[in-house]
């Protein structure tokens, strides 16, 4: 029997955590394609995510908007951003706050802004992980398995929509017009989605088949 692992007393949960796709980092790096049909896949682990539910017409929603520095987006697909925070619309009374700031701090600020009003603020940082798919061929890769119209006339930078890629439910956010997309699958589906994307990227290594 193996010796019980000794844990360094100085290492907190932050030092011990492993991202859901750490085991695929090398595979993702190797799958990158460069050139005119380039596309690359990376994981951006440990992004702070806070699920927020509140009545969008309430004073609490205004207070929360002020606390974050950006108003809550009120329409499907819209995002707003301020400093380290990006707010994505998930539903008519539900948002996902994505942030580079510390999860406890962000959730604490939001909870303070919500005060005693009806609503909820939950730290869901471990619920999903973040995949970034970027490069000239990124849209073509996604179009193999996403029912959404990703053409620039319908979708563009700053849009974030809950949909499916392959069979996996994701929040799909286009960050710029490289194009670069961030996909937020549930952690337990991340392995499958990453392998699905690596497979979908493979053909762009070769020449374009008319």
């Amino acid at each position: 029997m193996a010796e019980p692992t000794t844990i360094d007393a100085g290492a907190g949960p932050v030092a011990l955590r492993t991202s859901p796709l750490a085991h695929l980092a090398e595979r993702m790096r190797a799958a990158a394609v460069t050139g005119a049909r380039g596309v690359a896949l990376t994981e951006r682990p440990f992004v702070t995510m806070v699920n927020l539910r509140v009545d969008p017409g309430s004073d609490a929603a205004v207070r929360i908007g002020k606390a974050l520095g950006a108003p809550l987006p009120l329409q499907c697909g819209h995002t707003t951003a301020s400093g380290p925070h990006t707010l994505a619309w998930l539903g008519p009374d539900e948002w996902l706050v994505l942030s580079h700031a510390d999860a406890t701090t962000v959730a604490g600020e939001l909870r303070e802004a919500l005060a005693a009003d009806p609503g909820s603020v939950v730290d869901v940082s471990a619920n999903r992980t973040t995949l970034e798919l970027s490069g000239p061929a990124a849209r073509q890769v996604l179009e193999k398995g996403c029912p959404l119209d990703l053409h620039p006339r319908a979708f563009g930078p700053g849009r974030a929509v809950s949909t499916t890629v392959g069979p996996v439910a994701v929040l799909l956010w286009q960050v710029d017009d490289t194009p670069a997309y961030r996909l937020f699958p549930r952690s337990s589906f991340a392995d499958y989605l990453a392998r699905w994307l690596i497979d979908a990227m493979t053909e762009y290594r070769g020449p374009d088949v008319p």
Partner: protein, 98 residues
């Protein structure tokens, strides 16, 4: 493939939704007073019209909200989409209402 317009997210493929059965089936006022037969009617018995049918759908991979769809069961045409707090749109011979 059905193209269903979610009241909040707009038109999306059927694969993003889940079906929730017949709409407008009210929970009995006092379930304890029902006979077994009446309870079975409430739990299991549903209309099965050929033509317009009011049914519940949930946008499960989108905004996760429930709403109602008036769909023609013969042609699969989506006749109307409306929120749960909205009344069923009037259509001649629309079924699914009890």
């Amino acid at each position: 493939m059905l193209l269903i317009s979610c009241p909040w997210c707009g038109p999306r493929d059927e694969t993003e939704y889940h079906y929730g059965g017949q709409a407008h089936v009210p929970h009995p006022e006092s379930p304890a007073d029902l006979t077994d037969e009446q309870w079975a009617e409430y739990v299991f018995y549903r209309d099965n019209p050929k033509g317009p049918f009011a049914e519940r759908w949930v946008h499960s991979t989108g905004c996760r909200r429930w709403f109602n769809v008036l769909r023609d069961t013969a042609t699969h045409e989506v006749l109307a989409v409306y929120r749960l707090d909205e009344p069923r749109p009037e259509l001649p011979q629309a079924g699914g209402n009890r």
